[in-house]
């Protein structure tokens, strides 16, 4: 059987439905106000639990203490890799930790 594929394709028009799902809009939030100066401040160091995060945050801590000797640091390691801490059993601990620091450096590493 001889079929002209091009002709048969050209003859059809398709009206197709969208595969893209709707999603509820996420309320937007501004980022936390910044301290004018880091001297005397408590800086949180949040690790995503991967090896390089701990290494880079360690370097950040050393640099901060060298530049701002009165800085204090406080470490936090997430409960579960690649999962927002607010969705884990660590939520309450995390909220309390955030309330106790003036600013946070978060390291996302692999």
């Amino acid at each position: 059987m001889n079929v002209d594929v091009n002709t048969s394709r050209r003859s059809a028009d398709y009206e197709v439905l969208s595969p893209w799902a709707d999603a509820d809009p996420v309320p937007l939030r501004g980022i936390a106000p910044r301290p004018a100066d880091l001297a005397g401040k408590k800086i949180g160091l949040f690790s995503n639990r991967k090896r390089a995060a701990q290494l880079t945050l360690g370097a950040v801590e050393r640099e901060l203490l060298e530049k701002f000797p009165t800085v204090q640091t406080s470490w936090y390691e997430c409960s579960t890799i690649n999962t927002p801490e607010m969705l884990t059993e660590g939520k309450a601990k995390f909220v309390a930790w955030v309330a106790g620091v003036d600013a946070v450096v978060l390291s996302v590493a692999d």
Binding site: R9, R10, A12, D13, Y14, E15, V16, L17, S18, P19, W20, A21, D22, A23, D24, P25, V26, P27, L28, R29, G30, I31, P33, R34, P35, A36, D37, L38, I43, R49, K50, R51, A52, Q54, L55, T56, G58, A59, V60, R62, E63, K67, S79, T80, I81, N82, T83, P84, L87, A103, V105, V108, A109, D110
Partner: protein, 426 residues
């Protein structure tokens, strides 16, 4: 950096301050980390102290366009290219999801098209029955696959499956879908020879549909949210049935708490699937193949794939699935220096410190517990065994969901029963 921006945006903080990489994200060399951070420190301090702009204080909403239900009108090639350019495809040709084709697909469920089966991360897109059906049509699925696909979406949306982690991870994890119960035959899911190869509509299209749903409902984009280093061909489709009739043991879904006459889908995320020539056809050879070929670098949920013949051999010697799980956990070991936990102190492997061996030659279990292991009977005759090895996130589980069949199921199955390949004779 794109994944960080996307993750923050999805949580409602699009303008979080990100200092670009000066250190490779996988770096474990202290000198390199120190140098990279030293080079970045001025920008880190600036990010910590620079006063907020008006937009950083109150980010403006992007105009939210309600997705149009009709996405495109035109000819076949134009449709395919339009969808591809929108990022809605997977690189292979798509079948047009016309109103009629989607209506036919919806014959596979009694649920309303607007019913939300689950929300899929990272975008929290609503997986309505209609969106599932649209993606199923695009993937070439049949209406008899719809009940399975709905259960697959339920599994994907279950937090215990950790899609948010595995779907975005550098580890390129692939969803492995295992089908049990009567629906396996009804939908013609292959559990025999070459079950995991191309060639069966169900095995191909169910996995492909779920891959499209991850993209089009969950919003996962390659190299933006999906940061898989190498990627994984299993993301096209990794679907198999368990060969329950030929297995001497209770099926996987029964182990997972369902009745034998129920149908179910089980999901977990391996990132490697290896096949190993068995060390011997007796019970000792079969078990040795498994325990000596577990990859110590994986150390998570693990599925042992064995043929009906291998399973019968073990069963004849008194082995049960729980016994095999315990044995593989107990004797699937390496010297500690070959295990990642010895090198990173338990860090990303998720093991608690008391399980980390202190000495290089101490014996270290590869899989964290017998409960991290499942046994799956499938495949045809031959001397190979399979290992599908996944990640070990805390709380991660094999997630099983019941497949609910619609009214008129028998008639629907009969309609598609004859759709099987009749190979050329030569």
């Amino acid at each position: 950096m794109t994944d960080g921006r996307s993750a923050a945006s999805n949580k409602g903080m699009p303008l979080v301050r990100i200092v670009p990489d000066e250190v490779p994200c996988e770096c474990n060399v202290k000198e390199d980390a120190d140098a990279g951070i030293r080079a970045s420190m001025a920008r880190i301090i600036e990010a910590l102290t620079k006063p907020l702009s008006a937009e950083e204080q109150a980010p403006k909403k992007k105009e939210k366009g309600t997705p149009s239900r009709i996405a495109f009108k035109g000819q076949l090639e134009e449709f395919d290219r339009f969808f591809y350019k929108r990022g809605w495809g997977d690189g292979l040709p798509l079948r047009p999801p016309t109103e009629a084709a989607v209506r036919e697909m919806l014959a596979g469920t009694d649920l309303e098209p607007a019913h939300v089966v689950g929300e899929i991360v990272p975008r929290n897109g609503k997986a309505t029955v209609e969106k599932i059906a649209i993606n199923a049509v695009m993937a070439g699925a049949l209406p008899t696959h719809m009940p399975i696909l709905i259960a697959c979406v339920e599994a994907l949306a279950d937090p215990r499956a950790h899609l948010g982690a595995y779907g975005t991870s550098t580890g390129s994890w692939m969803p492995f879908w295992i089908i049990n119960g009567p629906v396996r035959d009804d939908a013609r899911v292959n559990s025999g020879s070459g079950a995991m190869s191309p060639g069966d509509i169900a095995n191909a299209a169910i996995g492909r549909t779920m891959g499209l749903i991850v993209k089009n409902v969950g919003g996962t984009r390659k190299a933006i949210e999906d940061m898989g280093v190498y990627g994984n061909p299993g993301k096209y489709s990794c679907v198999a049935g368990e060969n329950e009739e030929m297995s001497p043991w209770e099926p996987l879904h029964v182990e997972q708490g369902f009745a034998g006459d129920e149908s179910a889908v089980t999901l977990f995320f391996p990132n490697c699937y290896s096949q190993i020539w068995q060390y011997g056809s007796d019970d000792k050879g079969i078990l040795a193949t498994l325990i000596y070929n577990l990859p110590p670098g994986r150390s998570g949920l693990t599925c042992l794939l064995m043929t009906p013949t291998q399973a019968k051999t073990l069963a004849q010697k008194g082995w049960t699935k729980p016994m095999i799980r315990k044995y593989v956990y107990e004797y699937g070991r390496v010297p500690a220096y070959r295990h990642p936990s010895f090198h990173d102190g338990g860090g990303w492997t998720g093991r608690s410190p008391e399980t980390v061996p202190p000495n290089a030659m101490d014996s270290a279990a590869i899989v964290p517990s017998p409960d991290h292991i499942r046994v799956l009977v499938l495949g045809g005759p031959g001397a190979f065994m399979g290992l599908a090895c996944g990640g070990g996130l805390p709380g991660g589980q094999f997630v099983t969901k019941k497949v609910n069949l619609p009214s008129g199921w028998t008639k629907l199955v009969a309609k598609y029963k004859g759709l099987v390949p009749a190979y050329e004779k030569y």
